[in-house]
C-alpha cells in the first residue's frame, strides 16, 4: 500500500473529465510542474481548475488552457496569462475571480469541513456583487463558500514515505491548504525520506492528507523550468 509511484500517469490515474482540480503554486513558484505537464498529456476535458493563476502563456496550466481542457478557472490573478482573456472573450472558458485571501480561506474552509464564512474582503465592490451581506458587530461582511475538489496537485519539498510533508520558502503558498481540500491529494517533491527524518514539530502537512507521492521530474531554477 505504498503511496509512492515513479509514473506521472499512474499518479494522475484518478483524474477524470469534469473533475475539479486544485493546483498549487504562486505563478511557477511552488507549482507541481511535473504533474501539470502530465495533465497536459492526459486525455481529460471539462476540468475546473482552482489555482491562483492559470500559468503563463504557453507554460504550465497555460498549455492545458490552450488544449481547451479547462472549462472553468477559479483564481485570483489570471492577468499573468494573456491567453486567458482571449479565451474568456470568445466564451471558451468560465472564470471566477476571487480575492487572493478569499481563495486561500475558502480552500482552508473546505478542508476543515466548514460550509463557508464571512469576510470583509470584497464587501461593497464588484467582486462582492450578488454575495450575501451580513452585518456583524457593526461591520459589513460578505458570505464566501468553502471550496472542495476531487483532486489536488501540489508541490512540497520533502515527503516521508508515510506522506508527511514539509515545504520550501515561498514555494509553500497554497499547497498545504489544497492538500486538505480534495478527495485525492497527489504531491510531487524534491526528495523522499524515511519516517522519523522529518521533525514532528516541523511537519506542515500531516500524512493523513496525502494519497500519492512522486519525485519531481521538473524543477524551477534561476534559468527557468528544467528537467531533472
Amino acid at each position: 500500500m505504498s503511496k509512492i509511484t515513479n509514473s506521472i500517469q499512474d499518479a494522475l490515474s484518478c483524474v477524470e473529465s469534469g473533475n475539479t482540480v486544485l493546483v498549487g503554486g504562486f505563478g511557477l513558484v511552488g507549482a507541481p510542474l511535473s504533474l501539470i505537464e502530465g495533465l497536459t498529456e492526459k486525455d481529460v476535458k471539462d476540468l475546473t481548475i482552482v489555482s491562483n493563476n492559470l500559468g503563463e502563456s504557453g507554460k504550465g496550466l497555460g498549455i492545458l488552457l490552450n488544449q481547451n481542457k479547462i472549462k472553468k478557472g477559479i483564481g485570483s490573478y489570471f492577468t499573468s496569462n494573456r491567453d486567458v482573456g482571449d479565451k474568456y472573450q470568445k466564451g471558451e472558458i468560465e472564470l471566477e475571480l476571487l480575492p487572493q485571501g478569499t481563495l486561500a480561506e475558502s480552500l482552508r474552509a473546505g478542508g476543515a469541513g466548514l460550509g463557508g464564512y464571512y469576510t470583509t474582503t470584497g464587501a461593497g465592490t464588484d467582486l462582492g456583487k450578488g454575495k450575501e451581506e451580513r452585518e456583524i458587530d457593526g461591520v459589513t461582511y460578505i458570505f464566501e463558500k468553502a471550496i472542495r475538489a476531487d483532486v489536488a496537485l501540489i508541490r512540497a519539498h520533502k515527503a516521508d514515505t508515510l506522506g508527511n510533508l514539509v515545504y520550501y520558502k515561498t514555494a509553500r503558498n497554497f499547497n498545504p491548504l489544497m492538500a486538505t481540500a480534495a478527495k485525492k491529494v497527489i504531491v510531487e517533491v524534491d526528495e523522499i525520506v524515511q519516517p522519523g527524518e522529518l521533525n514532528p514539530e516541523e511537519i506542515v502537512t500531516p500524512f493523513l492528507y496525502v494519497d500519492v507521492i512522486i519525485e519531481a521530474q521538473q524543477v524551477l531554477t534561476k534559468e527557468g523550468v528544467v528537467n531533472r
Binding site: 504562486f26 505563478g27 513558484v29 511552488g30 491562483n52 485570483s76 490573478y77 489570471f78 492577468t79 499573468s80 486567458v84 482573456g85 474568456y88 472573450q89 472564470l95 475571480l97 476571487l98 480575492p99 487572493q100 485571501g101 478569499t102 481563495l103 486561500a104 480561506e105 480552500l107 482552508r108 469576510t119 470583509t120 474582503t121 470584497g122 464587501a123 461593497g124 465592490t125 464588484d126 467582486l127 459589513t140 515545504y167 520550501y168 520558502k169 515561498t170 514555494a171 509553500r172 503558498n173 497554497f174 499547497n175 498545504p176 491548504l177 506542515v204 524551477l220 531554477t221 534561476k222
Partner: protein, 212 residues
C-alpha cells in the same frame, strides 16, 4: 512645473513614503512604486511582509537568487534574520485580521473620501485582483502611492472613482509627485507640497476637493 521622468518621479514618491514609516512596524509593499520603498528603508525594525508567505523580506544579491524565494510581484527577494514562512491562508489571516501595520499600494484613482480603485478598468476583462482587496480591508494603515495625473494629464484624485473601487475603506495617506494628503474623516487634507511644487499646481491638477 515638475519635469522629472517617470522613474525619477517614482523614486521621489517612494523615498517620501519611506520617511513616513516608523519602526517597529510590519509593512506590506504592493507592486510598482511601493516595491521601490524598500530601497529607502534603513530602520532595522521595519519588517516587510509579502502576502505569498514571508515575514522578513530583504533585498537579495544577484548571485544569491533563489527561484523559490520571491515576493508578491514574483521578484526574487532575500530572507531577513528573524524571518518566517507560512501558507497563503495564514498570510491573509495576518492581513485581514489587522496584524499588518501598513500596506503601501498603488492606485489608478482615489476619490475625495479616500476610497481607491486599483484593480480593474471598465471595458476590459476583469482578470486579476490578487491581494489588493484583502490589504485594503485589513491593514491598520493604508498608504497610496501614484502619479498625480494620468498620461493625458487628467487628475487621478477625483470627486468620484470611475473605475471599480477596491474597498469601501478610505486609505490613510496619499503620496504623489506633487503632494502628500491625509484622509481625515473621509476628507482629503493636503499636508505637504513636494519640493518645488506650488499650491497652484496642485489645485490645477486635482479634481477632488481637499482641505489645504
Amino acid at each position: 512645473m515638475t519635469k522629472t521622468s517617470k522613474t525619477d518621479m517614482q523614486h521621489v514618491i517612494a523615498k517620501r513614503v519611506a520617511q513616513e514609516l516608523e519602526g517597529p512596524c510590519v509593512v506590506n509593499l504592493g507592486i510598482g512604486i511601493p516595491t521601490l520603498v524598500a530601497e529607502y528603508l534603513d530602520a532595522e525594525d521595519i519588517y516587510l511582509h509579502t502576502e505569498n508567505g514571508l515575514l522578513g523580506v530583504t533585498d537579495v544579491e544577484a548571485e544569491e537568487i533563489d527561484p523559490n524565494l520571491v515576493n508578491a510581484g514574483k521578484l526574487p527577494v532575500g530572507e531577513a534574520i528573524g524571518a518566517s514562512y507560512f501558507n497563503s491562508s495564514d498570510s491573509f489571516a495576518m492581513i485581514r485580521g489587522g496584524h499588518v501595520d501598513v500596506a503601501i499600494l498603488g492606485a489608478l484613482q482615489v476619490d475625495q473620501t479616500g476610497v481607491i480603485a486599483n484593480w480593474a478598468v471598465p471595458g476590459k476583462n476583469i482578470m486579476g485582483v490578487g491581494g489588493a482587496m484583502d490589504l485594503l480591508v485589513g491593514a491598520k494603515k493604508v498608504f497610496v502611492t501614484m502619479s498625480h495625473t494620468s498620461k493625458d494629464g487628467s487628475s487621478k484624485l477625483l470627486k468620484e472613482c470611475t473605475y471599480p473601487i477596491t474597498s469601501t475603506r478610505s486609505v490613510d495617506m496619499i503620496f504623489t509627485e506633487l503632494a502628500v494628503f491625509e484622509v481625515v474623516d473621509k476628507q482629503l487634507k493636503l499636508v505637504e507640497l513636494m519640493p518645488g511644487v506650488t499650491i497652484e499646481e496642485v489645485r490645477e491638477k486635482t479634481e477632488a476637493n481637499f482641505a489645504e
